[in-house]
């Protein structure tokens, strides 16, 4: 290489020549930093001191065992919701229905939990409840998948509608058939179907709702990663997502992958019941999912639909969710909703920018 060429290449060395790997790290960092900056601005506009707010948030979340437990508990559900969105996203399917699939799952788990005989051994009871939650979630998502494959119904519309239907079904069954009179929840499930809390097993994270389903969830994320990137199934599935026509030529059945991706997504969403019902509430309650399935979309997007990154991005959103609650006295929760939403928008904008840079 001539000297001249070398000097020319140095003089034009902006972001363009950064290697893709450092860029991939830079983009989430940039979006996080700018999200913090914008949030501070909003907090100032709402009449508070951002530094004080952030301090309080950190102290009451990551600063106490109870706070840590709360964040971990929220993170657990968010990981599952993120995966429920991410798996179908790998074949360019947008699962907006994690919320509905989770609702069906929690209801099924709570019902199973109350109906099981009291004498049944705990591992069996827990497994049966989890199985019914998974089946309900998967079934609900497969409805959308089937509509897509058989009739070409857009999965976004189908899953949104199925969310409403899930809400209707569970709401109706709860109110008119299964709720304990003058409450909005079902009877408690059999104690043999409880998933133990971390507190009771280890004595850590005192009194917090965090429970052993977090471990199960981490395992599921790991399994998803293996399935996507290290199995033949994932090899086929990603190919049919990236280039459906090429996949067809390669003898891959794209319709089958639509169904399995939706089914797996729904099953994982349903599994959220393990954390919410078996690990914490021990019954089904109106509004217990609280829109967390939608936050899952943000979790998945922030992580680029990668199962392992989802662990981190769910932690971030779990922190925001619970952190927002802890500073409720100083700053309204609405402000935190704004912050969350702005973060999502920033992330999407930055990743679009990142693609242009690459």
């Amino acid at each position: 290489m001539s000297l001249k060429k070398r000097s020319a290449s140095i003089s034009h060395e902006p972001l363009l020549t950064m290697n893709p790997k450092s860029l991939r790290l830079l983009i989430p960092m940039l979006s996080a930093v700018s999200a913090i900056a914008v949030s501070s601005l909003i907090i100032v506009m709402a009449g508070s001191d951002p530094i004080m707010i952030f301090q309080k948030m950190f102290r009451s979340t990551l600063g106490t065992p109870y706070g840590v437990g709360q964040v971990v508990f929220r993170m657990t559900t968010l990981v599952l919701m993120g995966l429920a969105v991410a798996i179908p996203f790998q074949i360019r399917l947008f699962n907006i229905g994690a919320e509905g699939q989770l609702l069906m799952g929690t209801f099924a788990a709570a019902m199973t939990g109350t109906m099981l005989p009291a004498a049944m051994p705990s591992p069996v009871s827990v497994s049966l409840c989890i199985f019914s939650a998974i089946a309900a979630g998967a079934g609900w998502a497969l409805l959308a998948g089937t509509l897509k494959v058989r009739f070409g119904v857009n999965e976004v519309i189908a899953t949104i509608m199925l969310n409403f239907i899930a809400q209707g079904i569970t709401g109706y069954l709860l109110t008119y058939h299964f709720a304990i009179p003058s409450t909005v929840h079902t009877p408690q499930i059999n104690t043999n179907a409880f998933i133990p809390s971390f507190d009771s097993v280890t004595g850590l994270v005192t009194n917090s709702p965090a429970n052993l389903s977090t471990l199960l969830t981490a395992g599921v994320a790991l399994l998803c990663w293996i399935l996507l990137f290290h199995s033949r199934f994932g090899f086929e599935m990603r190919a049919s997502g990236i280039q459906p026509e090429a996949a067809k030529y390669g003898g891959i059945n794209a319709g089958m992958h639509t169904l399995t991706a939706m089914g797996i997504g729904g099953a994982i969403a349903g599994l959220g019941a393990a954390n919410l019902v078996l690990g914490y509430k021990h019954y089904f309650e109106a509004g217990m999912t609280g829109g967390i399935g939608f936050t899952g979309i943000a979790v998945a997007l922030l992580a680029g639909a990668h199962p392992l990154w989802i662990l981190l991005s769910a932690l971030f959103f779990g922190f925001l969710e619970y952190g927002g609650l802890t500073v409720n006295a100083w700053i309204p929760k609405d402000i935190f909703m704004i912050i969350e939403a702005i973060t999502i928008i920033l992330v999407i904008s930055f990743s679009a920018l990142g693609k242009r840079w690459l």
Partner: protein, 513 residues
């Protein structure tokens, strides 16, 4: 005559890779200047710099004596540069005239389009340059050749003085090509400057005034077309002497592998694409199908690979060693011992985001020998990848990390062929446009491998738009016309006529038009 385009020491870097390095070039006004080179030699990058799609990393450019630095094609268009892309930039739903004025309507937001004025101008241009098209016809109804004419009219309408053509003949039939060349000459006669990118050497010699040869991002020479031969150009392009014709020893066909009898293909809208097609392909022969695009070749390929769209009605027989292929899925057909390189490599044969190793596996990932547990056996795949890369001379930096989209067209095609020719126990190989968009160096490798496959006893069906390729490789040649075989040249005839290739091309030409 002045200089239309002058480049002085222009380089373009992507990451740490120099797509163009220290290019100096001057294109004289009113000439046809060809840029030739293998795929990945940097022709496209260079023209994208001239057309304002890329900004050079260093160096200067001037257009008609004025120094310029384009940051978008819009600026280049303003400076009088136009480009006919390989993939046309037309809106199928709009008429020819509407397409031509698109972006240059010269009217107010709520005023009607000055279509009448535009049509008069278009008509004038069309007559002057022999570009007959109906300005009112919807573009969707036009043939590829006609669409290209619309693209040229578009440039004339914008009064471009410098016109860049990116592989303009890749999609044309021989007669359309001749017609295009006549147009290029008349453009030159009226003082336009034409920059022609191609890798077809015969064409360059036929039409260009000056030829610049590119290799590995550099210009290795600029010569007047009148003073070079095809062999000299080829030598400059690849840096070594290549055989322009593959050594093709006589084949010894064995028993029938593929038997097609009275195959009829009706599209869902009732169009008959194959009409009582009958042919047999034997083990150890290459059966070449010559024909103008749209005479049923694509449909035959789809039918044989289980991809006829829903609603297609197929009747007749297509059997592989007695087993019917009709109604089977691609996976099942592959399992029977059929291998296929699709016509459209980028869309159908590869996953661009997957690594080279992943693409060597894609479509063959069901083979047991690659499996381990629920995943793949990394060791076996690594060995397989290394063998294929060495065997086919696939040029890449990292087989597992580099996405396939990083490779040049020729190397991508080598990946596809390595994968498909390497399938175990294949009895039928379907090759569609095996060297489309592939450079000379790679063509040589690919042709050798095809002959090798034939000699190992595989039956090969070859569909190609390059008559030269059909003639060079085939044992027998079928001339396709309107969905059936109009004429078949026997092995003896092909071997006899191959010697006088040019005459043979003409004879085939009679049967396919």
């Amino acid at each position: 005559m002045g200089v239309a385009v002058r480049l002085n020491d222009v380089s373009k870097k992507f990451g740490s890779f120099f797509a163009n390095s220290n290019i100096s070039l001057s294109v004289e006004e009113g000439t046809i200047h060809a840029l030739v080179g293998e795929n990945g030699a940097g022709k496209s990058t260079l023209t994208k710099i001239i057309y304002g799609m890329h900004l050079q990393t260093s160096g200067e450019m001037s257009i008609q004596g004025k120094p310029v630095r384009f940051s978008s094609p819009r600026e280049a268009i303003k400076a009088g540069i136009g480009m006919v892309h390989q993939h046309f930039m037309l809106v199928p739903e709009l008429s020819v005239a509407e397409n031509i004025i698109l972006g240059h309507e010269e009217t107010g937001l709520f005023r009607s389009l000055p279509l009448k004025k535009a049509k008069a101008l278009i008509k004038k241009d069309a007559e002057a340059y022999g570009l007959a098209v109906d300005p009112d016809a919807p573009v969707a109804n036009l043939s590829i050749g006609e669409q290209q004419r619309v693209e040229i009219l578009k440039l004339l309408f914008r009064q471009a003085a410098i016109m860049i053509f990116d592989e303009p003949t890749a999609v044309l039939t021989p007669s359309e090509t001749d017609r295009l060349f006549a147009t290029l000459r008349s453009l030159r006669a009226r003082g336009k400057t034409v920059i022609l990118i191609t890798h077809k050497l015969d064409e360059v010699l036929k039409v260009a005034d000056t030829i610049s040869v590119m290799r590995k991002g550099e210009i290795v020479g600029t010569v007047p077309a009148s003073s070079v031969t095809k062999q000299e150009l080829a030598h400059m392009m690849v840096g070594r002497s290549v055989l322009l014709r593959v050594i093709n020893p006589p084949a010894s066909p064995q028993k029938i592998i593929l038997h097609i009898h009275k195959l009829r293909y009706l599209t869902p809208t009732g169009e008959e694409k194959l009409h009582d097609l009958s042919l047999n392909i034997r083990a150890g022969e290459i059966y070449g199908i010559a024909g103008v695009e749209g005479n049923g070749q694509s449909e035959l390929l789809k039918a044989l690979w289980g991809l006829a769209p829903a609603g297609t009605s197929l009747s007749g027989e297509a059997t592989l060693k007695g087993t019917s292929l009709i109604g089977k899925s691609p996976a099942a057909i592959a399992h029977l011992g059929v291998s296929h390189t699709p016509e459209n490599r980028l869309r159908h044969a590869v996953i661009l985001d997957y690594s080279i190793s992943g693409n060597l596996l894609f479509g063959r990932h069901r083979e047991r020998s690659f499996h381990q547990g629920i995943g793949f056996n990394k060791r076996v795949i690594k060995a397989y990848t290394e063998t294929m890369i060495a065997d086919y001379d696939i040029r890449c930096t990292s087989p597992t990390r580099q996405p396939l989209s990083d490779l040049s067209g020729g190397n991508q095609q080598k990946v596809v062929l390595a994968r498909e020719l390497g399938r175990p126990r294949i009895s039928l190989l379907i090759l569609a446009q095996p060297t489309h968009g592939v450079d000379i160096g790679a063509i040589e490798t690919i042709h050798k491998k095809i002959i090798e496959a034939r000699d190992s006893g595989i039956a090969i069906l070859l569909v190609s738009s390059e008559l030269e390729e059909i003639i060079a490789l085939s044992t027998r040649i079928a001339c396709f016309y309107k969905g059936s075989v109009r004429h078949e040249f026997s092995q003896e005839e092909v071997e006899l006529k191959r010697v006088a290739e040019h005459e043979f091309e003409k004879e085939i030409g009679l049967y396919i038009t």
